[in-house]
Assembly symmetry: D2
Homo-oligomer: 303 residues x 4
């Protein structure tokens, strides 16, 4: 299988301004290697990100030019496998970043939380442990995955209509992530692999690790979508990313309802009713530039 | 077992200004009967709430005076059983109310969504169905459950520090709901039974039904809590209710972390780290006066 | 003129559950004396509110029963004069309270800001000074003014549809404050006099003082209003109180537009257009339970 | 004086990816011509933006390469004059755009407001009138003004740390706008001239017009600022742009306080106190990608 490695200088944006590092055909299975969010520079508890990390976070592997993908199409990313390529992972508490602290956007006059690093090591039982009390069962997924916006170059820390830094645990092996194609070739990239992450990613840093993701692309022609979708064997999902958080919730459920109407031929108000009684809604991240919420519905209702 | 029926005129607030309808001892099992959110007045698809419902929603059964409960205590409500007392349930789309419409608070100049009623009937398989496509498996829970605030009388549509209209599916049989006691006797009440409800309760009205809840109280002396907690056989949970939604998320995780610190002796930053990697965070409601979010942690981490 | 003094125990809510302390006729001029927000207990820089203040803030003078006011009417409060009854005022920085700190609702894990008191003294030039650098020209106004909600008892720290703790500098002498009447008699109260306050009341505590407000009531029959209005000699204004702050802005402008449509016979879209080009929109408070925003339009456009 | 005209294809982003159209020396006075937000395509009430406007809004005049400006410097833009170059202006109501409607971010299931265009013509008294009732006194200002972000290319509809689409009426003749320099040469651009605009820009479209702005640049070396500042003859101001709106308010006041501390040597808590008692806080826009709020303080306090 074709292997694609990240190329330095790494892209730290989603956008059309970065040259593609490879051209990929729909249906072709490729293996992408990804760096961790810190470019692997935080290895010890004494490696404070403010001292050792670069200026930007979430280096991307990409962009990939997907042949035949044109603006207005939908890109389906079939994730076959996500393999962790290290036996340790890192998390951190970064000053003025995270969900339970003032930030540069939620600005206060308070002192920051202390900077701190946690190194988790893989145990013989497969779990990643920081201490006996903290042994986390892996559920690997990609923190970032997206295409290029048509006009903007958006930071790899930002989730939005193009996907990006959604930090949604359902971007995982066995699922299909559907992204809008906004520029010819799609300019797909991914990175920021997580061993595991709680819903909300409260402190802003998951169990960060390098990874190897096996995937293939499918291009659905002339099928514009406004926001990312995820299809699992048992559920359909939509991802809304916005602030305040209720706007992310509104987007996620609105998109789910539009999906039911357009592709499953539901009456508009029945679709709203069904989402109201049978939908699920969890927080992917409460820390990024925009918060990401995931609305879900069981595929049992679609048959 | 002692049975307690709602008394007219029903209370439509949580507060100390309503006379208790019964006095209950800790440890005593009681059965509370509850009306649906519309006082049972919406029975047909032609019964529009704007025409047949009363001025207020969510009639409460209570308040109950819990003997020995004093301000500063914690009230643990052990929910033994929730039985549905009808074979039909009702949902509705109410103008300028709900998660995917302008409301009186998120005010716009747009026309409202049409008013509409859905009647679900219990099928032989136990599911509640509106049509063949919409058959919902019951997971009964109480939409409202709370104590009296110390000073205010808050609408039965409002969730806040006292519990109230949280619309959180984990307020269910087998779980323990922990509420702050702010006035002597606690002034507990409950109501708004739901056959089922999606996370977020997108349209603002679940499968509304009358119910019969069997529960007992336990009073933990001098154990103030700032926000409601829920304990299930496998998880501990906190409920934050606020606007914007990110504030509800912040409250839920902050309270979970304080709980880990105070009662499970975690280091503060380790507790934050654990919540970040292993917490769950879902939306109870995105429609009420305040949004309610639930943060969870597996009890496996507490041993 | 009839003088009305606050009665102990002071009401700390707006609501119908407190007995009126006086009955007033429309057209009658009354003089109300008000305590400062701390009941006058914070007098020195060493008087920390956490140690000397009572459990509740903003003691009210009232409620007043306004004769002839019935639910559905509008109460116009003509403010003739606000006199400051002390030669000193107090402000403070209170832990986990204010606009530039985490609070109990915007909860973080950070330490609070230090508690601190500022005493301002009246100078010979009439300004209130904390130091040479901080001499503030008085523009006295009432921080709280409201009627009783129909159902709830709301804290005197809360602004909402009934008025309440709006902290809006336009509640001043020479202006008319219009409040909804929701219960017979209106149950009007006021308090929390401010020597001066910046827009937003960033730290949450203005130049707090005791006061003497001279006012009279006018009852407009069968004229329901959804939110408070203010009429000055040159402008009409609406006050929206909600969270997030954009909801307060939406309410304020929506109400202004509805006012233009209903009482000044504007076309709906022209009213929206006019507000868009000629409206003013400032922040009253960014610190209370709900944020209060004021939308304004010059009366030149109304002729 | 040197005149600089916009160059097609117009930039629709702030970013370093667009080639500069001119190089300018600090101290040199230049005259920039700007197109209106619709590129002048909406000329009649029958010209609906959805039919005649291009895909993007707010064409920029620029970027200008400012000689000697390096990342970490502050760019002071002295606005000498803003001249309106047409005798008519246009406003519009655009579906799912504006402050009193659902939008693509505040998504609901409601129908949009009707699309509609208003043409204002200059009267002999200098005012711009849509009808006798709507005659607006001009107070010309630039809706967009900014530098390039270091990494991103941000839409010309977005206000953020670099300035951009702030829609703040204080970006006017006689004032100085201070912007961060994030890339060498600053990459300054401006556009979106407004005859007038209400605070909040409620419908999302001001009185849009083409303009001619006379300005000069001053570069302050090694003087990083986090957010834009404005200096008028009588006040200092900071602009915060974020969602929810309270975050914009927090940024604006935090930056004002940092400014007082760093450049006017105030004690931190005294600066907070002064902003609390004497600050002003108004809404620039409540419609763009981020809301922009302006905090102000009289220069009287700075002497």
């Amino acid at each position: 299988m074709r292997e694609i490695h990240p190329v330095q200088p790494y892209p730290y944006t989603f956008g059309k301004y970065h040259e593609p590092i490879a051209q990929v055909k729909p249906g072709e299975t490729v293996v992408l290697y990804t760096e961790d969010c810190f470019e692997g520079r935080v290895k010890l508890e004494t490696d404070l990100p403010s001292q050792v990390a670069g200026h930007y976070l979430n280096p991307q592997t990409g962009p990939l030019y997907v042949e035949g993908a044109e603006a207005g199409d939908m890109l389906m990313v079939h994730i076959d496998d996500i393999e962790l390529t290290r036996d340790w992972a890192v998390s951190a508490q970064i000053p003025y970043f995270g969900g339970l602290t003032a930030t540069t956007l939620t600005a206060t006059l308070q002192d920051p939380l202390p900077e701190k690093v946690w190194i988790y090591r893989k145990q013989s039982d497969g779990r990643f442990a920081y201490s006996d009390r903290f042994a986390i069962t892996p559920h690997p997924f990609m923190g970032t995955m997206g295409t290029a916006p048509d006009l903007e170059a958006l930071s790899a820390l930002t989730p939005f209509t193009h996907g990006g830094n959604m930090d949604v645990p359902d971007v995982k092996s066995g699922n299909i992530v559907c992204l809008p194609v906004k520029v010819d070739g799609a300019y797909f990239s991914t990175g920021d692999c997580h061993v595991a992450q709680g819903e909300g990613e409260a402190c802003g840093v998951a169990l960060e690790i390098s990874g190897k993701v096996t995937l293939s692309f499918e291009v659905v022609k002339r099928h514009p979508i406004a926001w990312p979708r995820i299809i699992s064997p048992s559920e359909i999902m939509t991802v809304g990313s916005a602030r305040p958080m209720e706007d992310a919730a509104r987007i996620a459920y609105s998109e789910l309802i539009q999906w039911l109407i357009r592709e499953y031929h539901f009456d508009k108000w029945d679709a709203y009713q069904l989402a109201s009684q049978a939908g699920k809604l969890y927080v992917g991240n409460m820390v990024d530039t925009y918060y990401s919420l995931v609305a879900k519905l069981s595929r049992n209702f679609l048959e």
